[in-house]
């Protein structure tokens, strides 16, 4: 379901064991240790804010997250009140996105749908982060047979088609936001695990890790205080990118019939419901679809800019 496409260098190495033996990374920027002095951060923030596209995308994403937390701030209509008289009205002054087949205001349903979709995607990413980081750190740091076993486990979940596994999980756990989050999250874990592992492999060869060991730090302390903070950089970018993938996966599952209980208005359900009216009332499916696309593009842009401006 997910393709590891962001930081190129760690991913190439992480996807195949042949390439897992670290070759000195082909980087044009030096790997900075965040524990160093603060001014590079401030410089970076200023560089980011100077890009209008980044700011725009970030503001939009923040607005969407706020809408997910407090949807009633953005609209006064009720997302569930049917009004058969106003069925399938085109977008206009009264209804910005038009109305759907039961006369409900579409813009309101999109806003209220953000809560469910964002929480499902967030849940998926959280599950993937926790599982992926743990797997990657343990596997990368300890190496040896533990590494081989854990990476084969990751291989297995890559080998089983993601959507198939998601279907099976949702059929097993039932409908709703949580099972969908679990299903999507499980599919994203491999990418996170591999990326983390590659970073850990790079980080653990650095001198200060050896210094920490020499000065008597316990393994867990090294892992938590030294390895993890340095290794999570690329994964953070991947997380933002995969947030968009999670949203799309949730939409795909809604299309196939799994999703939040009706009449809840998840984005995927909105697009799926509207597809019967693509010819006769295209806004019912097009506008939510474009909205989802816009959100995912913004997330992608934010992630890429964060990665480019280091």
């Amino acid at each position: 379901m997910t393709l590891d496409v962001s930081p190129v260098s760690p991913v190439i190495r992480s996807v195949s064991p042949v390439l897992a033996d670290p070759v000195p990374p082909r980087r044009t920027r030096s790997a900075a240790a965040p524990d160093a002095d603060r001014s590079p951060r401030a410089q970076r923030a200023r560089a980011l804010l100077r890009r209008p596209g980044f700011v725009l995308a970030l503001v939009f994403v923040v607005l969407v997250v706020v809408a997910a937390l407090a949807p009633s701030l953005f609209t006064t209509y009720d997302p569930y009140a049917t009004a058969p008289v106003a069925r399938l009205t085109p977008p206009g002054a009264a209804h910005w996105f038009g109305t759907d087949e039961l006369g409900r205001d579409l813009y309101t349903r999109v806003v209220f749908g953000s809560t469910l979709t964002i929480s499902a995607a967030l849940g998926a990413i959280t599950i993937a982060l926790v599982a992926g980081l743990s797997l990657g750190v343990v596997s990368g740091y300890f190496g040896g047979w533990l590494d081989a076993v854990l990476m084969r486990v990751v291989d297995v979940s890559l080998a089983i088609p993601g959507l198939l596994m998601a279907l099976a999980v949702v059929t097993a756990l039932g409908f709703g936001t949580l099972p969908v989050a679990v299903a999507v999250g499980v599919g994203i874990v491999p990418g996170f695990a591999r990326t983390t592992r590659a970073e850990v492999l790079r980080v653990k060869t650095l001198p200060y890790i050896e210094a920490a060991r020499a000065s008597g730090a316990t393994r867990s302390r090294i892992l938590l205080r030294h390895v993890l903070p340095n290794a999570w950089g690329p994964v953070a970018v991947l997380a933002v990118l995969d947030f968009g993938v999670a949203i799309l996966s949730v939409a795909a599952l809604s299309f196939l019939g799994f999703g939040a209980a009706p009449p809840a208005a998840e984005w995927g359900t909105l697009i799926a419901r509207g597809r019967d009216y693509l010819v006769t009332a295209p806004w019912v499916s097009l506008l939510p679809g474009l909205f989802v696309g816009l959100v995912v593009i913004s997330l992608n842009h934010v992630a890429r800019t964060l990665e480019e401006v280091r």
């Binding site: 049917t82 058969p84 069925r87 009706p262 019967d276 010819v279 006769t280």
Partner: protein, 560 residues
């Protein structure tokens, strides 16, 4: 990083312009080449029927859980249309009047108030493999079905031959079917696709083989191939000479072939018809009003027929502890459904409004419109009187419990949501609980629902027993839950009387009383009429619905 100076701006700009121009002209050229196709709206040549042509038909997806074309085993509506065209039945039923007319049998005699049926068979009928359709073949057919029922008690056709005791071959063209308990509905059953007669060779095959297409009938077409969930092909059977009187011609069918495809997406199926890729679009759920307008706008015709049998209705769970155990709540729900708005919103302005627990094409169906009138004020006062006071968020509360009804569904439809909103207006909260087909059995048997919908298709009112009679219902739990004991006794008596009564007038009275009881006591909450809507391309002529709202393609011919 050192970079060499880029190309001079003017050269760069010129290259870009050239590239864009090339791209644009390619697109325009291609568009010009591609737009020369004929849409479905072109004027067609009508005239006399003539032979030839392939009819392309698009159904909704095949049954993934049980893909079968065996007449006796399958309940899948679309396949029953297919079966109607390759297998014939002993009798036929007039869609307009419900009267049983001769087909493979020319005369019949009923004796013992439904315990014995004697049929006289038509001369000269053969199956498409050449074997004669005589009394022995009919005996093999019925005995074969009964034998299947022993192995597979869940076979759909079983309820049609309830109480079957055996078949006797009186002579080459006369056969007697015997029952141990009276079966007044058997005559109508002989006109259905479920009791269509297959060749003796078909009954020598295993049930699985029959399901997968190894079936031979005596119909105007033969089943050439069946790829489960992929497609079906039929072709004309030469030498067909025994249509029923309900058909428009005699002799061979006009069409050379019929090709069936399964299209999952409704909008794609409609688009296939409007763009001319198929000749017939056959959806499971009726076209939306917008789709009807779209079809009619491109020159296609939409033909309707209500499917006989139970209407699209919800059945309650009246077990103790559930809100619907209270008759007042049930009456309130009955009054709180705005059926006219439902029909208009979901299906369009010209869609029939449901009239009772049965669809209007079911024999003996009488309108219960009085008992189904939309009366929200009456509903509210009933609930007030029963002690359900309106709560803070609109949902009524009594003794600390909210008036919540759980409706078990497998897929959300706009109709479910509309109903939810309608009942919200009178203070009832409907929770739409979606579960997969896999989980539904558990939901039903554990009683974890308050409202559930199901339906069957059969042109006989006795069909409702398959939902409401615990003895023969497909789901004992659903049947027992749907009625309080007092009502159950009343309903059972009426059903038995109806099954055994052979006098037309008396039978009509019994079923009218039954429908009224079901509505008054809140056993069935009719929501919508079940209508089969079919889209036909302009070049298709001669289409006919059978009494069961299945399609007969025997008289169909295509413009050349």
């Amino acid at each position: 990083m050192t970079r060499l100076p880029p190309l001079r701006p003017r050269r760069r700009a010129r290259r870009l312009v050239a590239l864009t121009a090339a791209a644009l002209s390619t697109v325009l050229l291609a568009a010009g080449c591609g737009s020369g196709t004929t849409g479905a709206g072109s004027v067609s040549q009508t005239g006399a029927p003539h032979n030839g042509g392939t009819l392309d038909l698009a159904f909704w997806p095949d049954n993934p859980a049980f893909a079968c074309v065996d007449p006796f085993q399958t309940y899948w509506i679309e396949h029953r249309t297919v079966i109607r065209n390759f297998a014939d039945s002993l009798t036929d039923q007039d869609p307009a009047t419900g009267k049983i007319v001769p087909w493979l049998a020319t005369r019949w005699k009923v004796a013992g108030s439904g315990k014995s049926y004697t049929f006289t068979l038509r001369d000269g009928v053969t199956f498409s493999d050449g074997t004669p359709l005589d009394a022995a073949a009919v005996k093999t057919a019925f005995d074969g079905n009964a034998a299947l029922l022993k192995d597979l008690p869940t076979a759909y056709g079983g309820v049609y031959i309830a109480g079957y005791a055996g078949t006797d071959v009186v002579d080459d063209h006369t056969v007697r079917v015997r029952f141990s308990t009276p079966n007044a509905a058997f005559l109508q059953a002989t006109s259905t696709t479920s009791l269509a007669i297959l060749s003796p060779g078909s009954y020598a095959k295993t049930p699985e083989q029959r399901c997968l297409g190894q079936v031979v009938g005596s119909g105007p077409f033969t089943l050439d191939s069946y790829q489960p969930t992929e497609g079906l092909e039929l072709s004309r059977r030469p030498g067909y000479a025994w249509p029923s009187s309900l058909n428009a011609h005699e002799g061979d069918a006009y069409l050379d072939h019929i090709k069936v495809s399964y299209v999952a997406e409704d909008s794609v199926r409609v688009g296939n018809l409007t763009s001319g890729a198929v000749d017939v679009a056959w959806p499971r759920n009726p076209f939306t009003p917008e789709q009807v307008a779209q079809l009619q706008g491109s020159g296609d015709t939409v033909v309707d027929r209500s499917l006989p049998g139970p209407s699209s209705a919800l059945y309650p769970n009246t077990a103790a502890g559930h809100p619907l155990a209270d008759a007042a709540v049930r009456s309130a729900v009955q009054k709180g459904i705005d059926r006219a708005t439902y029909a208009k919103t979901i299906y369009g302005a010209d869609y029939p409004v449901v009239q009772g627990p049965y669809d209007t094409t079911t024999p003996y169906a009488v309108s219960q419109a009085a008992g189904l009138a939309y009366d929200p004020d009456g509903a509210k006062s009933l609930l007030d009187a029963a002690g359900w006071a309106p709560g803070s968020d609109g949902t009524r509360v009594k003794d600390g419990r909210r008036l919540t009804l759980v409706e078990a569904i497998t897929a959300e439809t706009p109709g479910d949501v509309l109903l939810q909103d309608q009942l919200k207006q009178i203070g009832i909260e409907v929770q739409l609980k979606v579960s997969t087909g896999a989980e539904q059995p558990a939901v039903i048997t554990s009683g974890a629902y308050d409202l559930i919908g199901t339906y069957y298709t059969r042109a006989d009112p006795g069909v409702l027993q398959w939902i409401l009679d615990p003895a023969i219902s497909g789901s004992k739990a659903l049947a027992q839950n749907s009625q309080t004991p007092a009502t159950a006794a009343k309903v059972e008596k009426l059903f038995s009387a109806g099954t055994e009564e052979t006098d037309e007038a008396r039978r009509a009275k019994i079923y009218a009383g039954l429908a009224s009881t079901l509505v008054q006591d809140g056993v069935s909450f009719p929501v919508a009429e079940r209508v089969q809507r079919v889209g036909l391309a302009p070049q298709v002529h001669g289409f006919r619905y059978t009494s069961e709202a299945f399609g007969s393609f025997y008289d169909v011919w295509l413009d050349s």
